[in-house]
Symmetry: D2
């Protein structure tokens, strides 16, 4: 960490700052120029609070040289991580096609969708049992019953299942779930993340609506610091002023995260755009820029679905998307 001290700061105050930094088991290297004094901080600065220091009245600016994320940092782990999910893998060339309905609604629905997405090439089944809803009056999911139905669909099709958790107290219900999803609104629910660090099950961590990629990595760090290294990152759009799409899908997150971290990165074009017609082009784009997987909403019978929505594809539409995605993926891999 480089600390730039303001011009004309009294020597004494600089000495106080240095003393405080060194009291935290860090070394300093001071360079005084004509116009400014620079303090280089050497050691494990990941525990140093950047915001606190940059707020000091004698500090002009702070610049981290090493990132505050460790476990997820590619610098310390150059190879891509591969995360195993049942007999499936994701990362380092293994591509995950995760598909399924927004909400689990009934036995018939989830099994029918599971069968059709499997036939189309999906490698995992997604479905919401606990649903985070902006309004307390909206449908909140089938909860424990929804998880039971997902497990039934898993037994029926062999597809590993991915479903969202909203409360660490529900963890016992997730015993047989294959991947636990943390939604965008809980990306900085640090208490939940810590609990997920205590287990060893893969966690699919969605980027928050207004969170930077570095914050996403710091949240992954919460899980990994607890010992659970099985984190899958998910870009699902950020909030901007644009209203044509529900969110703005930030696909440059894919190469940027691949540079910063060894963790796999999947993309959710359904929630990002909120418009079924844009799911296919965005799925192809995500695949072309190197995403390690996709998570796509598919429902069986639109007109009667509770969540018959803007963003869900019908099974035959998903089949077309999957076919095209696999084709683009093959081309990308041939390009090397």
């Amino acid at each position: 960490m480089i600390i730039i001290v303001k011009q004309n700061t009294k020597e004494e105050r600089i000495r106080d700052l240095i003393a405080w930094i060194e009291s935290q088991n860090l070394r300093t290297h001071v360079s005084s120029g004509d116009y400014t004094t620079i303090i280089g901080v050497i050691g494990d600065t990941s525990k140093l609070d950047e915001e606190l220091i940059s707020g000091l009245d004698i500090v002009e600016g702070v610049k981290r040289v090493s990132e505050p994320f460790k476990s997820s940092n590619r610098k310390f782990h150059p190879q891509d991580s591969v995360i195993s999910v049942g007999d499936q893998k994701i990362g380092a060339g293994h591509f995950a096609m995760i598909a399924g309905p927004c909400s689990v609604e009934s036995r018939e629905q989830i099994i029918s969708v599971a069968k059709s997405v499997k036939a189309a090439g999906a490698t995992m089944l997604r479905g919401g049992a606990f649903k985070p809803r902006t309004s307390p009056y909206d449908f909140q999911g089938l909860k424990a019953d929804g998880i039971e139905l997902l497990l039934e669909a898993k037994r029926e099709t062999g597809l590993p299942i991915v479903t969202e958790i909203m409360n660490a107290n529900h963890l016992p219900l997730f015993e047989d779930v294959d991947v636990i999803q943390v939604g965008a609104r809980n990306m900085q629910n640090f208490e939940l993340l810590k609990e997920l660090g205590r287990i060893r099950k893969p966690v699919l961590l969605k980027r928050g609506l207004a969170n930077t990629l570095k914050e996403l990595l710091m949240s992954a760090e919460y899980v990994m610091a607890g010992g659970n290294e099985n984190v899958i990152l998910c870009e699902r759009g950020v909030r901007t002023f644009e209203t044509t799409t529900r969110n703005t899908l930030d696909l440059s997150a894919v190469p940027a995260l691949h540079e910063l971290t060894h963790l796999p990165v999947v993309v959710d074009p359904s929630h990002a755009t909120g418009v079924a017609r844009y799911v296919k082009p965005m799925a192809l784009a995500a695949t072309a820029c190197g995403a390690d997987g996709l998570i796509i909403e598919v429902h069986n019978d639109p007109p009667h679905a509770l969540c018959d929505g803007a963003q869900s594809l019908r099974p035959e539409q998903f089949e077309d998307v999957a076919r095209c995605v696999f084709q683009i993926r093959q081309t990308v891999q041939q390009l090397g």
Copy 2:
């Protein structure tokens, strides 16, 4: 709710939509013009999922006529709510001056700050015991011990205390806390909000980094739907592209929330700006536009504080801010 159907939609599909709406105990009123068909939905549409309907391929657009928030809505509760906190009140002309350190650090610190802010006119003491931190390696607060120290400061000064909760499982520790704060990152932690709906203690609910005012009210609704009507809203800045301040304080939230809801609205100029020098002007501005209170960071001994930061005032600075705020408040009230 007004649903505008796309041009050239088949009669049959419109009939299906109407049937589905009516199956939810709502009535419809259809108006067919030369260019479009409009379905007016009558009844308690707050339970109707706007996003779902606007996503249907036959729907051009949806416009709510009545807001989806009920308990917090001023239309159904025209008088300002007054919330009692110990022997203090907030709302409907009662102004809360909440002050204290970012984190509780020691007995000496919290009692010293409590005494000095009380002397300057503070009506409540704030202090963090459980701290939400972006990094798992940053100081996470004194936790239960921090709450104990806050209670000691309360006994010493008589000031009611405000402190943040991050996990509903910690609720027993908050038994004697006067106001439970929900931080910006937990504004849409719906499971936590539901638990806070089961108690009757005042909840200070901070606006999320990228949440609209209507989403803030929907989160208040989660607490109120459980029966806890003691919600205090807090504007603390939203995330934008501007980097001079940590966040962008949205003061128009004050008159806008006062129009939409009967709940009191406080402003946090410390977290919003992240710069101690801007706390005073922003505190005055918030008071001038009608805020029902302020929440301001004050630390006792900056050079040695763990959180000696950009945004905290020294006690003598707070004294000046408080004096000026009370003066502006008096002028505003005289203006009527």
Copy 3:
């Protein structure tokens, strides 16, 4: 246009509003329900000021049924537009690969880059002669001399040239330029757009830093309303809170614009990301989601370039990007 009137509005005020609307040669269709009155406005509402009406105190909300853009609207022009640029075409299956340096610096530089990008498959040459710079102290381009050098490169290679205009008074200098670019900062410089409507040369219109897709189309409308239908739209990233990339590339703009308009859409991954390493993945992604072309920064001799920057590729890097883009494009076209 649908106008929803507030509950309990006096009859007289509604009549005044209707009279005012009808005075503008529009017809109305009024539907009064139990809870609300809805005024349907029939006729050419594109000239009606939506913001003005929605601001009236008796108006609950306004919803356009027809978009305010006419000339660019796909509804009235279902086929993709094809724009001719010299002997090249863009749109409706014709793909433009536009490449070249940020700034024209010297005869050697621009001719060398032009030759190398042509060899790699570029169909047009870009280069800045007039440079919009945030600081008046930064290099502002070679101006008229820069255009002369571009024309020389055109004569040498046969590549049509694309360069930015900042002032309508400079138009005579652009006589032999093939495509006139309007930069993001001038997207709403309406006076400039009007002047470009008076000529018939293709205009490459970049989306503003914080402009919606509908505003981009309204700016295209300024050019087209003047009679110049040769508008090429360009997505180049929008401004968000994310700092890893210079802007946030909004690739969902590609399918969304293709749905709204018949105009071709190109993508600029260089300015969008500001990082040369991300140009290739984003170029592939843009191609996969159906962009009609790319505009990519390439410089010849990085270490000595004035603009040796974050975002420019070296010629051999561009060759690799172009090869991969053409491969993805071929796969996408085979998918149908």
Copy 4:
């Protein structure tokens, strides 16, 4: 400027960078630590392109120690600037109350509004003659005739006039205008700014929809670099995801700009909120945090006005706002 070089960069490449910097008449001071090399750049770095350097592959980061704005920088001009407008002043304790209609519509309208706002305490008259409109089909202003009518209102009332320019070619029409306004959409129309640097008339420069405060200052720098030091800055809201207000008024811009620059800062609560009901609270807030003036929309006869809008006040409402603003201003000044 501090340049932090990436770890493990070859000596030779660092030498090249230093040579290039020194070739631009700057000196360097190099400090090599265990982990990193830091290059301090000494001299007038305002002409150095930060983006270019931070984009070099061997550069970890760049931090400016001195700001790139010179003429507007408070460091080199500690006293507040006072700008004279006719017999009025603004800045350094002089408060400007600028009021008038969105658009000039007729002789009767502008003279009537001018008289009423003058009676209420306005010190300048605003009114749009050239109107920037998102749609080419919306009313574009009375243009030259509008300026004539403003001048007539000036002769009638003695109020200096403020009106917007959109095209430098129109400058001759602005001969007798007192303050030339540059709208938000033209904040980075650098060609227009340069032309305004050639005259000596005060320029009221509005912040762009998504521009930082530093970019606003760089745009002021364009005018000042030409020799015109009479720049008045205007905060008018930035674009965010919030939809309750048209823009998000960033009042922390007032103290932040006062710290960075000696130029006066005015606030436009009408355009910022887009809602007449919020103009008063935001005008009071702006005054309380130290704005040097306000610019407020007032129309005379709402029901018949072309721009009878969401954001305009009636004369009697403006009278109330002005009275309260002056009262708050007095209290703020007494507080010291």
